[in-house]
Each structure stands twice: as structure tokens, then as C-alpha cells.
Symmetry: C2
Subunit: 557 residues, 2 copies
């Protein structure tokens, strides 16, 4: 069996028709959900691209792998999904975005060249790269944002788009009165991108995925990782005006959220992107583009699924559809992700397992508390391996797919965020180390703990599903706060770094040294079998006379 | 300046005359203390050789590096003291024991050969090995305990000691009626070791250290790491009978400790070594041997110090004397280490800094709460570097050596213990993951937290300096327990894995992407300087007509 691990960037959990969106019709996502399981309580380990993805690709919490924000290299030697799968004979390929930054310093310290297979895998987060493209080809006075080659730009050039960076001039630009209307500006979000629809990013990567499926011998896990619907919010015709005012959801926000907000939340409400999304005319332009991008993703998913069906591979392919985090789109007076309301931290997760064992759950939803790191565990099990739980911190979702009753599933999910690189850190007057936040969510109560001396925030999603009312300063809820801090404390004591020794290794180590001549704590040797001490009996072979006084005086001179 | 980082194994903090031992006279330890600072509240990160040393050698807590017990490999790529010092032009050498187990699997995954300099350093915990010898050359039915070469055994052979493993037959054996009296058995502890005193382990390693000092160009940090006074408790004449019944300290134990003890402590009280040390006749034999081993260590330290003086190098050599953990010797009805009473978890720590900046503190003691991981930080600073506090979790002790007033020193120390490999794990019915304990000590109150659902233990060292009275079940002390759990919670949230990015890196990253063309969140571009958006203005170079309906229908086919 192969695994098609498809990720969209910044796709909200509720912007699919199977998730209930009243206007955005996503028949192909729905098709997979109708044949698989849709997980309705799936959360990322950090609501930001880089850190979230590093967790997906290692199966470890952000505080465990340490690559806790965009551009923070994943340290050399960290064991990845690719390492685990290759141990079980499954290759692990990348098409698209990982946001991985190589630990160049660590690789140099270990003498690893980026040219070697090993070095390349270290640089690409454990994947073998079919086509690596992180999607944002910005260029400014200080140079290029991403210095790697761009297969997408090369594709555009091969199609006749001129210039050094056709992404900037075509894919990321609309047209307004014969002037470039850059996709970076929200005011241009309603314009059609200046590119043939089939040449835009999502179709391009889908074509690569189809070619991959045709050409690659399995078993494989392919991470097909789309940049959309992440900004820039611009999409080619006909998607740019497929949705309009009447299809835009009202923002989930309340005046009370602006009234004496928690200081960290207040700093978020002041950001450029929040301010933009607080403007209804920005939402009016951006959200239809966002929806159009998702609709294009759905159409392209249809191409991919049709190809799997037509080539007879659907029956041998596990399909996973997910996202690395959400998008506020003006909910809670915010934009982007980077914080812990459901709109940002919850993700869509749909899994189709073609095997008979999963027949009983087809078309169902599962509301178990799921963490993104569960996918790494699930894939290892799907590849026929036992989950190395001294390394992978997630839990396999296979029991849920098989419809089994499960004891001892998790009681809470954890997500983290490091805002030290952002302007919020200075604005709030905290040190980089203290610019960290932790979410603890048990399915109803959501605690947000802030390092740096701030009080926590607390939401009760049963009485306040909109997360409008922060109970964190209310003494009436101290019991809930304490209970969730108890979870956070337990999680803080978790065993996360004993990565070189499994529980099986430990069992094998017990008592081993005794049979290799390490025999302390014996009074006279009778405490252990004679076999172990027999080397230590018998006549003395040589005798040394203790040194005389004068020998002692001269000792060492 | 060079750094002589001398470690003894299993040396109790109170078995030195400068620390107050009434009978064991250690003039050479005292000599260093008289010229330096003796730290009276120094604690190890785990009271067991392997885990403690991995923390010394990385400057990181056990839960941060994960090599949490003996024989657990330190994962490939973990940054070590040697890596840090070499960055500042100081070499880092090993003479003696590290207890490091190479991460062979990780090294293979990264293609590192143990033969290369890089691979050898990975295998030897970041050190360049002048002479690596972990000191226990046991041999049993299943073979050798340690498969590495033993420079010490090779030395013995060169001196005419016959056999394949002269350590076992000579260094670790006494004589009783012409029979080998193995050093493994406590009943033989009072016999002289069957070896010339000058050929025993401590003098041998000291000679190597002297040779190293003569032959090696600095600047260097040399970790001279003695196996003694760690068991086997056997020492050559004249040390074997230098001390007797009248010099043996009364055990620090009380009947109340055996009355309804905490279940984990009870399991410890039942172990073979505890049972042995509960017998006064075992103490009567072992403790004089232990004292004799320390006396020999002190005499040999004298050789080393004399050599430094005579060769004019004392003025350029920082000297550190310490231990990797203690030894119960029957205190608390226990033997060995492995738990958290002062006898096991507290260590001697004496630092001599020859530079003028340390003149004001010569001959003083310092009672600041010190963790063993502070040494790595101290050495980096001594080598002229800035402590990389995103990797090293300890704090430099230089301010204390310079007699400075310090704000914001730590309020508590942490130590950990993983007993999963020991028989206690099965005896207590816990999983390997739950066989873990944490000590939190604030200088007065000592909390011991146990995973696996046990209640905590609590000691008040002000009213109960002997640690006889466990207050962990007493509701009157819940406030103290809660307070210390607060410290443990804060420590559990510490940032320990962001090892690829320093605070300086973070400052340099702020705002950087904006000047590289990543410009999200703009409504119309006027929010940023014109220079940043100028690439995104101007006439359109090519225009693509949106696809016709039939083109759409044929798209992708």
C-alpha cells in the first residue's frame, strides 16, 4: 500500500462542504470523506507553518524537536518520518512545500555534505525530494527570500513566461489597467491572477503528483504539499469571482473581545494583518479569493483522485487530506494564524484507508482528540511497523479507522507558539525565551498559558463555542485552570528525549551486566549463581609484596 | 589558560577534610580549596554515573539530552563541551572514564564512521581521547562488559602482570590464603589489592595526566576522570588498613525511615546493596576501603599539583575537583546512589581559578545552589566565549569566583532518575516510561516527584537536616508541596530544544523577510516604504487571456 499524504497550507477546518460550509462546495474532499473517516477534533502542535510541519514530519511536539518557528532549522540527526518509513521498506517522497531549514551548522559539524543522499535527506527533513518548492519567491532590496531553486519558476519559464521570477509577475499578480496588481496587496485579491489557470501553482503540483504516481515504484509515502490557500490571496480566473458577498461567512467576533483583552491578545489585535482583517472591505475581497483558491484545490484533487481510479491504484493508496494550521480571516478581530482559537489551531483531517479493515468506518466522523503528530505514528503502522514510541510522540489513528474501542486515548491536546521573532515580543517587553505560549485543550476547556508572567486565558467551548469570553481572570474558574495546569505539568514531565533506547532495549538490558562480570553489592558471592563468580575463585597467580617504607618514599619520583 | 577538569567517581561531598570529615585527611583537596572556592551546595542532574556525566559533558539536564541512564547512548549530533570549547580555540581531551555509549544507530544513519575524527568525537562524547578507560573490566558467561580496549590493562600487561585481564586478577583482587579474593565481594574489602600500589588505577591515570600536561600544547581542557573511589571497594597497601573502626562515621539512618516508607523508597531498602549496607559488618569492611581509596586519590592529586607547580603551569591552569554523584554507604538504610538524599545527589565541587579576577574569593566557600551543568557554562566562559544559553542550560560560575553580587541566580535545583532498567521497575509494577523520578530542591525544601501515580516525598532540611522525616503525606505541608510543584511545572516548560537558533539569531531574523519580498498583510502597499514595493509596480509584460469554456473543459486531459 502507498500513502498519499496531501497537505494544504492555511486551509481552515470549516472551509469544506463536508465540514458544513454552506457555500463552498468541495465535492472531491467530500468524496474522500465519504469513503474514509473525517476527524473533527484535530489540532496542530503549533499554529504556524514551520513549527507545525516539523511536528508532522517528526511526530514530535515542538518543545521536543525545538524547531519552534519559521526558519528555525531542525537539528541534524533528528529522526524523521522518512527515516522511520525507510526502516520498513517504504520510500518517503516530497512534492511541494516543507518549510524545512537545514541545520547547516550541525551538518558541517558532522561533516555531512548536502550533496550526498544522507545530507540531502537531512536538508529536506527526511524526504527524498521529487520537487521541493516552498512557494514564496519573494525578492526585495536584500535579495531573495528563498535561495533554493524553484521547480515551479522553472516550469513557468519553460511555458514561456518571461523574466527571472515569473512567480512574482504572473502567478502572484493580477492586472489592473495594464499595471501589475501584486498579489501581496489585499486590494488586488479580487483580480484574476495574470496566468493561465492550468499554469498556476495548484494545477502544476497536481500534474507533478500524477507524474510521480505513474513513474514511481512503491511502496511509497508521497507528501504532496500545496502552498494554497496560503497567501498571497490571488487566484486565476474563473476562481477569482466564483464567490461574492453573499457567500462570505460573518466574522466570528464580538465587541467584548476588544474590551480589556489579555495583553498578549491585545498585541495581536494591533498587528498589521489583524487591522487589515478588521476592515470589512478587506474581508470582502480576500475571502472570495481564499474560497476560490480552495475550490481550485478541490477541482485539482478531483484530477488526482480520478487518475488514481483510472490507473487502478485507488485500492492500494491510503489518502490523507489535511492542513498545517488555519486562518482567522477576521474572526476574533484577527488575521493569519499564530494564536489558539479554533480557527487557527484546528485543522481538517480526512483519512481514506482502502483496506478491508477500515470498511466499518467509511463515511463516518470521529471526534477523538487528535494531534497532528498522530499521523507519523499512523503511517509507521500503515507501513507495517511498530510505532517507536520513544521517538514518535503521537499515537496511531489506525484503531479509530478500524472502528475499534480504545482505552486510554489522550485527555488533552497541546499546542505551542514562539513569538520571539515577531514584533509582539518587543511590543510586550518579554525576552525571546519568554515569548512562548502553550495551549491545553481537553475538548471543552481551553487554557492558554503564557511564559513571562502574564495571567492565563481560559475558554469554555461548551457554553461559549465562539470563544468570545476569556475566563482566565475569573476566580470562579480557578479549579478548571488548576486542573488544566495539572495536565500541562504532566506533559512537561513527559519523556521526550530518550530517543536512542526503546522499551524493548530496556527489557533486554535488565540483568545483562551481571552476566558480563559486573557484580557489585555481593557480600560473599553466594548471592548469585556459582557460574557468575567462578572466574573469581582459584589460586593467586602472582603475588606482589607490598612496598617497603623506602619504596613508598620514593614512589613517583 | 588551561582547564584541568578532574572528576572522581562516587566521591561523597563530605569525605574530604575541607568538607569537615573528622578522620579522613585530604590535604591536597584542601590545598586547592584554600586557593579557590569550595561550593557547598552543588548537585548532579542524576545520581548515577552515565546520566550525570552526560549532563556534565553537555551542560544539559537529563530530560534535555535523553541519555537518562547507564548505557543509554547520547544521540548523534548532541552538542558537547568539546564542540563548544573547540569553537573558541580550546581543545578538549579525555583521560579516563566517561561512561559514554556511542549512538551507533544514529551514526550509521548519518554515515559517520567511528574511525574519523568527527566519528571518534561523537563516540567519545565530544572529547579527543588521550586515554579512554571506563574502569570496569568485567567478564562473565556472556562475555565482556566493555568491549573497548583498555589502556589500563595494556599498561598492566606491559608491567608484567599476566593474563588476559589483569585488572580482574590484580587490581580488583586481594589475597586470602593464596586464593584470589575478588574485589567484588564486600567481605574482601579489607584486603590489600593484589597489585603494586604504583600500578593501581589512580596512580596510573595520574601518571598519564602528568605525561599529558608535559606533552600537550594548549589551550586545553583536560577531563581527568578517575574510576575511584567507585566500587569495587578494594585498594592496595598501605591504604587498605589505614582506617579502621574508630574512623568510620555512624550511619545517618533512623528506625522511623523503615516505618511505613514511601513504596519506592521501600523498594530501594530491599535491594541487594541496601541489604548489604544495612549490615554493620559490611560497613566495617567497606568504609575503610572507601576512605583508603580517597586517601590514595588525595596523595595522587598531590603528585599532580606538585608537578603543575614545579613545571610553572599552576598559574595558567584552572583546576576543578568534583564527583559524578555520592554513595549512601548505609545512610538511610541504603547503599550506592540512585536516589535523592544528600549523600547521593550532592557532590564536592572545588574550583581554583589562577587569574587575578578570582583573588578576592580564594579560600572561601560559596553556598549558592549549583547544578553540575554549570561547569560547561563556566568552561566556555573561561575559554573566552559567550555561553550559548540556547544549548547549555547551566549558568557560568565565574561571577561567584570573581566575588560579584549576582541577581537572578536560580531558586531551585533539579535532579532526575530513571530506574526502568533496574529490578525496582518490575517490583513496583510500573512501565519503563513511568519509572522516573524528579527532585526539586530549593536549599531547604526537597520534593521528590514520582511518575506512575505515587505520592511525592518531602523533606525539610532546616528542621530535619538528616532527611529522616518524609512529610510528603502530611496535609500540613501541602502548601510547600504545591510551591515546589510550581517550580517543577516551570522547569517542565523550559525551552531546552531550540538548539539551532540563538537569541542573537532571533534578533537578526526580525523584519528580515520584509526586505526580501515577503510582504503579506498589506492592504494597498502604502504601509511599507516604497523601496519594498517598487518591484511590484509598473506595466504588465504579458497578458494571458482567461481560458475559454472549452479550454476549461479540456484542461488536464
Amino acid at each position: 500500500m502507498n500513502i498519499l499524504f496531501i497537505m494544504y497550507d492555511q486551509l481552515r477546518f470549516d472551509y469544506l462542504s463536508c465540514a458544513g460550509h454552506p457555500f463552498l462546495h468541495t465535492p472531491n474532499f467530500d468524496r474522500v470523506a465519504a469513503n474514509g473517516v473525517r476527524f473533527t477534533n484535530a489540532y496542530v502542535q503549533s499554529p504556524i507553518c514551520g513549527a507545525s510541519r516539523m511536528s508532522f514530519y517528526t511526530g514530535r511536539y515542538v518543545s521536543s524537536h525545538g524547531a519552534q518557528w519559521n526558519g528555525f532549522p531542525l537539528r541534524v540527526g533528528e529522526v524523521t518520518l522518512g527515516d522511520h518509513l525507510r526502516e520498513h521498506g517504504m520510500d518517503c517522497w516530497l512534492l511541494g512545500k516543507t518549510h524545512m531549514k537545514a541545520d547547516a551548522k550541525g551538518m558541517a559539524r558532522l561533516g555531512l555534505s548536502a550533496d550526498s543522499t544522507i545530507g540531502a535527506r537531512q536538508s529536506d527533513c527526511g524526504f527524498d525530494a521529487w520537487a521541493r518548492d516552498d512557494g514564496l519567491w519573494g525578492q526585495g532590496p536584500d535579495g531573495l527570500y528563498d535561495s533554493k531553486r524553484s521547480p515551479y519558476n522553472e516550469y513557468l519559464k519553460s511555458k514561456g513566461y518571461d523574466g527571472e521570477n515569473p512567480w512574482a509577475d504572473y502567478a502572484n499578480a493580477g492586472i489592473s489597467d495594464d499595471q501589475i496588481a501584486s498579489g501581496w496587496m489585499f486590494r488586488n485579491a479580487d483580480k484574476p491572477a495574470n496566468i493561465r489557470e492550468e499554469d498556476s501553482e495548484t494545477p502544476w503540483l497536481t500534474s507533478e503528483a500524477i507524474r510521480f504516481i505513474d513513474e514511481t515504484k512503491g511502496p511509497w509515502c508521497a507528501h504532496v504539499s500545496f502552498i494554497k490557500p496560503h497567501w498571497p490571496y490571488i487566484v486565476p480566473s474563473p476562481y477569482h469571482d466564483m464567490y461574492g458577498h453573499n457567500q462570505i461567512q460573518q466574522p466570528r467576533r464580538h465587541a467584548s473581545e476588544l474590551d480589556k483583552p489579555h495583553p498578549v491578545l491585545a498585541a495581536y489585535q494591533d498587528t498589521r494583518v489583524a487591522t487589515a482583517f478588521q476592515q470589512d472591505d478587506v474581508r470582502e475581497k480576500v475571502i472570495p479569493a481564499y474560497m476560490g483558491l480552495i475550490k481550485q484545490c478541490d477541482d485539482q484533487l478531483g484530477r488526482l483522485l480520478d487518475h488514481l481510479e483510472a490507473s487502478g491504484q485507488m485500492k492500494d493508496t491510503m489518502i490523507v487530506l489535511t492542513s498545517d494550521h488555519g486562518d482567522y480571516l477576521g474572526d476574533h478581530w484577527l488575521g493569519e494564524k499564530d494564536f489558539f482559537h479554533e480557527a487557527a489551531v484546528k485543522i481538517p483531517l480526512i483519512i481514506f484507508d482502502p483496506r478491508a479493515g477500515a470498511d466499518s468506518t467509511r463515511g463516518t466522523t470521529c471526534d477523538a482528540l487528535v494531534e497532528s503528530i498522530d499521523l507519523a505514528a499512523t503511517f509507521v503502522e500503515a507501513a507495517g511497523g511498530e510505532v517507536p514510541d520513544h521517538i514518535i510522540e503521537g499515537k496511531s489513528l489506525m484503531p479509530w479507522l478500524r472502528g475499534e474501542t480504545i482505552d486510554g486515548w489522550r485527555e488533552y491536546v497541546i499546542s505551542e507558539y514562539d513569538y520571539s521573532v515577531t514584533p509582539r515580543c518587543k511590543a510586550l517587553g518579554v525576552s525571546p525565551r519568554d515569548a512562548r505560549m502553550f495551549m491545553v485543550f481537553d475538548g471543552r476547556w481551553k487554557l492558554i498559558h503564557f511564559e513571562g508572567g502574564f495571567r492565563p486565558m481560559l475558554f469554555d467551548l461548551e457554553t461559549d463555542p465562539d470563544e468570545f469570553t476569556d475566563l482566565g481572570a475569573d476566580p470562579a474558574f480557578q479549579d478548571q485552570i488548576d486542573r488544566l495546569y495539572g495536565y500541562l505539568g504532566a506533559w512537561g514531565r513527559r519523556m521526550s528525549q530518550r530517543v536512542t533506547v526503546s522499551d524493548t532495549d530496556i527489557q533486554n538490558m535488565r540483568g545483562a551486566s551481571l552476566r558480563r562480570g559486573i557484580m557489585p553489592f555481593l557480600v560473599d558471592g553466594s548471592e548469585v549463581p556459582a557460574e557468575l563468580t567462578q572466574k573469581y575463585h582459584g589460586p593467586v597467580r602472582q603475588t606482589f609484596v607490598p612496598m617497603t617504607q623506602s619504596e613508598e618514599e620514593n614512589h613517583g619520583n
